[in-house]
Symmetry: none
Subunit: 156 residues, 2 copies
DNA sequence: CGCTAGGGGTAGGGTTCT
DNA sequence: TAGAACCCTACCCCTAGC
């Protein structure tokens, strides 16, 4: 039928993450063309990268709760005239616990079916991902902060 | 970033079709400036019109067999607003004198197995669209024929 | 410089496979 | 039933060429 279904290797996954750190979320083609990653990702298309990142993002915060529940709230969307601000799509109540700092990851700690050894690594991994995603979504011009994550990223 | 992504409403789509009938394919700016349509299409650019027409043409011509299946199975799921207008259907089975052959514009990186006969769904609007496009492409000076389509177009 | 045609890229809903 | 990988447009941007 379709393509043979090729599972992502950890090398590819790492390259993707590094690529996102370097070029940003949504720059799939750019990441793919970067000589730094093309060697690893040459079998993947830009769409593949996008899809994979989507999966990773879900994993990174999907276990917890908020942030992604907005997807469920979306079903009917008709914008005849005078559309609303696209960024206002998330009607989450900015009450107390928001996505302010790099804290939300704590919340995802309770429901983790992981086995012992890699636990901390995965945790940090998710932390980074969440941080990056959040930074990007909230305007993400904070280059220095992102740069800071690069070091952490390559610690593993 | 780019533009906020504005989905086309059925009103806009109808206006575009009517505009094409009135001014012809490729006269995007003209359609846009026509007072008859500017009220509906005022937040679209000439390029937007062109792009949308491209989509519509693809739909009218080479709809993949998978799409056909999906359409058939389409859930009776209520439409909140008035999308999916009453053009709805011409359920009778298309015999064999359907559409010509128009291969999908697709460059798949992997296997390209299926190719078969393009038996498009016979939706009235698709027929109209095809007819208009064909007329235009083949010299399209058959004004009377086009005029005939106008009536059909506005029958619903 | 305005306009159209066409190539390209991304987002997101769907579908298929495991 | 779920999740991962892949598919299919809808929509937008860019630019060559007139």
């Amino acid at each position: 039928m379709g393509a043979p279904k090729q599972k992502w290797t950890s090398e590819e996954e790492a390259a993707l993450k590094a690529g996102v750190v370097k070029h940003g979320v949504g720059k799939w083609r750019t990441i793919l063309k970067d000589p730094e990653f093309s060697g690893v990702l040459y079998l993947r298309s830009n769409v593949d990268l996008k899809d994979k990142w989507r999966n990773l993002s879900v994993m990174a915060n999907g276990w917890s709760s908020r942030e992604k529940s907005r997807l469920a709230i979306r079903r009917v969307h008709q914008a005849p005239k005078h559309d609303e601000n696209p960024f206002a799509v998330a009607p989450f109540t900015p009450s107390d616990e928001d996505i302010v700092d790099v804290k939300p990851i704590q919340a995802s700690r309770d429901v983790v079916p992981f086995s012992g050894p890699k636990r901390s690594i995965v945790r940090l991994d998710n932390l980074i991902m969440e941080a990056i995603t959040t930074l990007k979504e909230t305007g993400g011009s904070n280059k220095t902060t992102i740069a800071a994550f690069i070091e952490v990223l390559f610690l593993f």
